[in-house]
Symmetry: C2
Subunit: 250 residues, 2 copies
Amino acid sequence: MSANPDLLGKSRTAVFTPLYKQIKQLLVSSLEQGEWKPGELEFARNELAGRYHVSQGTVRKAIDELAGENLVVRRQGRGTFVATHQEPRAQFRFLRIVPDQGEPVAAHSRFLSCSRARADAEVAQRLGLRSGAAVIHVRRLLSFDEVPVVLDDLWLPAAIFKGLTAERLAAHHGPLYGLFESEFGTRMIRAEERLKALGADADTAAALKIDRGTPVLLVDRVSYTYGDRAVEVRRGWCLTDRFHYRNALS
Amino acid sequence: MSANPDLLGKSRTAVFTPLYKQIKQLLVSSLEQGEWKPGELEFARNELAGRYHVSQGTVRKAIDELAGENLVVRRQGRGTFVATHQEPRAQFRFLRIVPDQGEPVAAHSRFLSCSRARADAEVAQRLGLRSGAAVIHVRRLLSFDEVPVVLDDLWLPAAIFKGLTAERLAAHHGPLYGLFESEFGTRMIRAEERLKALGADADTAAALKIDRGTPVLLVDRVSYTYGDRAVEVRRGWCLTDRFHYRNALS
DNA sequence: TAGTGGTCTAGACCACATA
DNA sequence: ATGTGGTCTAGACCACTAG
């Protein structure tokens, strides 16, 4: 085949990196820089194969991995699209609290506060900021069928989420991550959670209308965007009397 | 190319099933029937391509999916192997409780009881048995560094785990699923868990050396083997003061 | 009808492990 | 040296969607 002037040769480097991995990285970089917005992706198999001077199969393998990491969505006959948290299929990817009985149901958010604050040592460390850096603190109550179930505290880097206010939060409908993605150009890719059981504190008890000390599920999350950059710390206290956290081990 | 007398034609059926899916299913059936034991897999790409009269790429795609589902493990230069719970890489796939500080550490099991029983309505339903069917009930205490952390109750279909006794459990070393796989020919493929926070009952409190009512994490699991057959119900009470349940959302 | 993703081929060569 | 998995090609055809 012809040369790939933009890419590394096949076996001339000290550490071998497959062609499709290089292509994937190029595509991720383009996504990261917002070259394509959520919606249709400007690349088709043939076009990219031409652009990078590789075969269609190699491009396909790169996109295979992007699809596996939920960065893009493929629809047969239509095209490949930048994934978005607005889509129904993404709704329950980051929401694991579901009712014991019946089908998963959409949650309703009520925002209790949204204010600028300074990151304490722990939040700063987890967000990769210096201690005392400006953050935005959001407190919200998640309800299912009018029943309050989760009290969430969020800490977001102010540098990224500048302009996030209680009003904008209240005006938004749909998943919070959908707002972050469309209004602040920050798309959550993955998250790590730590779960513990502990007794409800005063705030939690009041918000969830339970007694202090009632066992609640603490869900402690760090969310990451492109390039494994931590951009959200979230701590939720969940009442699990008629709800549970569901997880699949595979 | 030549015909595939054993497989469906490419586009002559009402519902189109890709060749590699058919091959994958054949391989899963062989695994299920124990045609290959954990250890080396008797197929190499070339051999299978010949056996099924398809190209190597198609066989590869079938094995790709098996590897993705952790049914087999590929090792470059060596071969493809039936996955086993004995391997180190599988150790923490079904064990999500880890210490808050420091690296994940191996757990130590102490078996408190192992007896035949009759399945109550709930366990029977979840195992796909009739109510009152014979099951084996195991109770064990999981400790990390001599500290008791999890009290587990297991219910297993007696028909499958016939001969499981406290002695055999005590004599075994390593993951429990390793024993099930090597001694009872039943390999756990995936599991579904429900997590709740609740107060410790008397048994749990005694075993974990805590007060009654102390918040503990309830981990309720159903495990499945080949063909999505439920073969274990497990309920664990976890003390999460210095440990947590970790989960990755992706 | 055209364009997209999805499958499949036949063969080549590279990377890695083992004997 | 041999055999394994891993990558890559160039092209073909099928399945699906939309104009």
